[in-house]
Amino acid sequence: MSDPATTTVEVNGFSCRVWTKGSGPKLGFLAGFGGLPRWVPFLDELARKRTLIVPSLPGYPGGGLGHTVLDTHIDWVLAVRQIVEKAGLAGADLLGASVGGAFAAEMAAIFPGHVRKLALISPFGLFDEADPAADPWAQRRDAVAGIMCADPARWEALVAPPEGANSVEWPIEMTRASEAAARAFWPLGSTRLEKRLGLIEAPTLILWGDRDAVLPPGYAQKFARGINGTTRVQAIAGAGHLAYLDQPEAVARAVLEHLS
């Protein structure tokens, strides 16, 4: 299989990596917790049918130090909007997972012309005191993989340093990804997104790993109830919070079906 084309877009003076692969109508993907330190099989599944465009968000792998100038939620939302536009995704279908899912939902809510159809995989953005989400930033080191994926080996494979990686910079980049998530979502994972869900008119698919150990499955219904457009909730069997790592084929199939 061929490698993706890699380009960059600049936001606030920092460059963000953009991967592009495949052909057909455009589909954007905003990745979840940890970002994409490497290409993963899920992306190939999507690129079989669509022109897949995967921009890195500031602070995540490929996104450099752009998070350091984002102090407020509106700073983040406007940075993501610029990335979406500069990556050529305005008006295209948009998929977002976990932390990236919260921003995909914001795009559809605040800039409705930017998102044709929306798909979300266990998005951040809400918090319910009666059904609290886990704290992804207060985990013992050996527990992180187990809360991110149903199969901890999938997370381990995502973050393991590739051959030839800089042994000093690689772990710093992995920590930076967690910091970027914290910067936007500390301490509860909430951006009070419930106030804006009603602005989402795009048809929306909401996927949730049935073994998500970060966000309770009940949150899927909160999204479905809040969003104004047509919604469908689908559980992904055998998947944790980052369902696209655990079950790449099943998740891709559901997403592509929704978009077709």
Binding site: W137, R140, V168, I172, A180, W186
Partner: protein
């Protein structure tokens, strides 16, 4: 050398099976372990001990800030310091300190410190820690990725609030205030009360202290052996920056237990030391490293092995898990200095000279040490040790010590005694 008496105010009645039954002494320690009626006695004992240390002639008494913490019962050290301002006369009051980013607006710190400085006649040392991850990011919910920038901005605001003569507007990244004009103002206004910075072993902090001309304090619980690498790194950096080796640029924390003999010291201090290093430092490692708390520069230095691992106080919980909890190892590791007065004199002189530290902050109460034992330790140190170590560094001027009002100008604080209500 300055000898400063530091209290952490630990809860002294954590159960024997605390470590087995509870995951952490900090952040989510269970409320059922806290008995307010017992805490009434603890606070009063602790404040008696601080006042006693002042009477015994220590140069300063020190308090600090912790939140949701079973070994630190001072969410607000300023409350204790204000009481000490009334119950001591000449002793410096070292508040070590207020975690600036936790106050909204940060001018609250400028105000409260100015109050303490006024009440005490100019005896305040103003400590500005960033604060531990457990206190700031977990107990207080501060964003670890923004904490340091908030801290530096709050510092700038507090300093301007102390020094600018006219009402000013502050338009910061995180704080906006249209009318900054604090009342009261500190007595120490040339230019402001001495600022001391407790920090880990990061080069950024060392450089900042040098640039601002602040005292850098390394407040490790692991004593002078573990602290040596950090302090050597600090002095090397000072040399690089063209700063002199004035030992009063630095502060260091050391646990001490002095008695008539080494054996008696072991008998007296083993239990409280093991209580502290066992129960009090039982912190769940999941609260140790919120992402962004440690700067990338410090991470890089750590990974590259440029710094000793022991230098990283930002990671106390992980360290605690690896550290000794029995008295033999505690003493061998240098966490607690023990011995007869002569033995302690020798060790204190060694600590002072090897680390080149002019401000020695002493923990003479730790863990569940009783008031009687604490007073014994304090008195013996003051009478038998202090006179023989004070001469250290007498060639250097301590430019970072409070400059109080002249004694004759200060208010006379009446002796306290319970009032008897006369029958009508």
């Amino acid at each position: 050398m300055k000898l400063m008496w530091f209290h952490l105010m630990p809860y002294t009645e954590l159960p024997d099976d605390f470590n087995k039954k509870h995951p952490s002494v900090w952040v989510d320690i269970h409320s059922s372990l806290f008995d307010p009626r017992r805490a009434h006695h603890m606070y009063n004992d602790f404040m008696d001990e601080l006042e006693y240390a002042a009477e015994c002639g220590f140069d300063a008494v020190c308090v600090n800030e912790h939140h949701s913490n079973g070994y630190g019962l001072m969410p607000s050290p300023n409350l204790i310091a204000s009481s000490l301002a009334r119950r001591t006369t000449d002793t410096a009051l070292c508040v070590m300190g207020n975690s600036l980013a936790l106050y909204n607006p940060p001018t609250r710190v400028a105000e409260e410190f100015a109050m303490i400085d006024c009440i005490s006649g100019g005896r305040l040392i103003a400590g500005f820690p960033v604060g531990s991850p457990m206190d700031t990011c977990y107990a207080y919910g501060q964003n670890p990725s923004l904490l340091r920038d908030r801290y530096y901005e709050a510092h700038d605001l507090v300093k301007r609030a102390w020094t600018e003569k006219d009402t000013f507007a502050f338009s910061g990244r995180f704080n906006q205030q249209r009318y900054v004009n604090i009342w009261p103002r500190p007595i120490q206004n040339d230019p402001h009360p001495p600022i001391w910075i407790p920090g880990g072993g990061s080069i950024e902090t060392w450089r900042w202290c040098a640039e601002m001309d602040y005292v850098y304090c390394y407040l490790s619980y692991y004593g002078y052996k573990a602290g040596l690498t950090t302090m050597q790194g600090f002095w090397k950096e000072m040399e690089k920056l063209g700063k002199d080796r004035n030992p009063y640029r630095a502060g260091f924390l050391q646990f001490v237990g002095v008695a008539e003999s080494r054996q008696q010291a072991l008998d007296l201090y083993s239990e409280p030391a093991e209580y502290f290093y066992g129960r009090c430092l039982h912190v769940d490692p999941r609260f140790a490293l919120p992402p962004g708390y440690t700067t990338e520069g410090t991470q890089r230095a750590g990974i590259e092995g440029m710094m000793s691992k022991a230098a990283n106080i930002a990671n106390p919980a992980t360290k605690a898990a690896l550290k000794a909890t029995n008295m033999k190892d505690i003493v061998d590791g240098g966490y607690v200095l023990i011995g007869s007065p002569d033995e302690v004199i020798e060790q204190i002189r060694h600590v002072g000279t090897s680390l080149n530290v002019g401000h020695l902050m002493l923990l003479l109460q730790y863990g569940n040490m009783s008031k009687d034992t604490t007073k014994y330790n304090t008195r013996l140190f003051a009478e038998k040790v202090m006179p023989h170590v004070r001469d250290l560094f007498s060639d250097w001027e301590d430019k970072w010590w409070p400059k109080p009002m002249a004694k004759g100008q200060r208010a006379a604080v009446p002796a306290f005694g319970p009032q008897t209500v006369a029958a009508e």
